[in-house]
Amino acid sequence: MVTQLYLLIGLMILGSIIALELKDLLSAVISLGIVGFSLTLAFLILQAPDLAIVQIVVETLSLVILIAAILKTTREDTNQGLNVKEFSIWAAGILCALFLIFANQSIGLMSPFGFPNTRMAQNYLTLGVEKTGAVNIVAAIILDFRGYDTLGEATVLFTSVMGVLATLRLVGRKK
């Protein structure tokens, strides 16, 4: 399982590097799709089919939208290149290295995967079916134990759609 995950992660890194380096934008978008579909496979390997269903559809839709945008505008990379000073590159590299070192140390201090510190999670797993009646433990958690979170998510989606419609309408409503 771990070997397959490392293979997928390597493929994702390769896909994103290719997407950055290509001059043809259509090829870049398609190689960006490698990242999304490999993420779907990674979710399936980690036994999270709920996420895999959402991820595969959302990835396809975002590819469709990006390709439509490219077909309507231009296929060539019009980026002139950034004028970055050498100091900024070194600073960014040192910051990333420091972050990785500290993250590595703090991950070593955490409790291992599958043994959470909080007592709450164990209760969700053992009493989930009995208290909610839902066999799918994910649905039991997101819609019963953590229903407030899901209401918040639905509100965020609602607000973002209202924002998109209000921005794209362009013609103001007169009284």
Partner: protein
């Protein structure tokens, strides 16, 4: 993209979209039994709509699909989700209380308010993803939505 694609694509899209809607509805309805739920099923249903939209082109779809319908469906989904949560406050004691009968596990009608919540979330997600898509592809300068 305005006039739509060839007749082969249109026919296949027409045949397949029904199956896609059925699959999305299945994921929404069985959200408390199998993997999936309102978010996953809603995205699948909106994918079916987008397939039809792409196959038939924005000019033809513009007459059939109005953006305010998607907007109203989305608002109603959010509102009914909130109302389902309010049932617990009105009929029981606190917000989000699962007061409907639990039923037997592994049955379609079980788990109290969870299938209802899944249904309303599914409506909201499908309408909002499709609404964003048609807003991005059809609204132009000077249009009235």
């Amino acid at each position: 993209m305005n006039r739509g694609m060839t007749i082969i694509v249109k026919t296949v899209a027409r045949l397949i979209s029904g199956l896609i809607f059925l699959f999305g509805f299945y994921i929404i309805c069985h959200g408390h039994l199998t993997p999936g739920g309102g978010f996953a099923g809603g995205v699948v249903v909106s994918g079916g709509f987008i397939l039809l939209f792409l196959a038939y082109g924005s000019e033809e779809a513009k007459n059939e699909i109005k953006i305010w319908r998607a907007s109203i469906c989305e608002s109603l989904g959010t509102f009914f989700f909130w109302l389902t949560a309010m049932i617990g406050l009105l009929g029981g004691s606190f917000f989000f209380l699962n007061i409907l009968p639990k039923g037997k596990p592994f049955h379609l009608l079980s788990a109290g308010i969870i299938p209802l919540c899944n249904l309303f979330i599914g409506i909201e997600v499908a309408a909002s993803v499709f609404g964003i898509f048609i807003a991005l592809s059809t609204l132009k300068r000077g249009d009235k939505s």
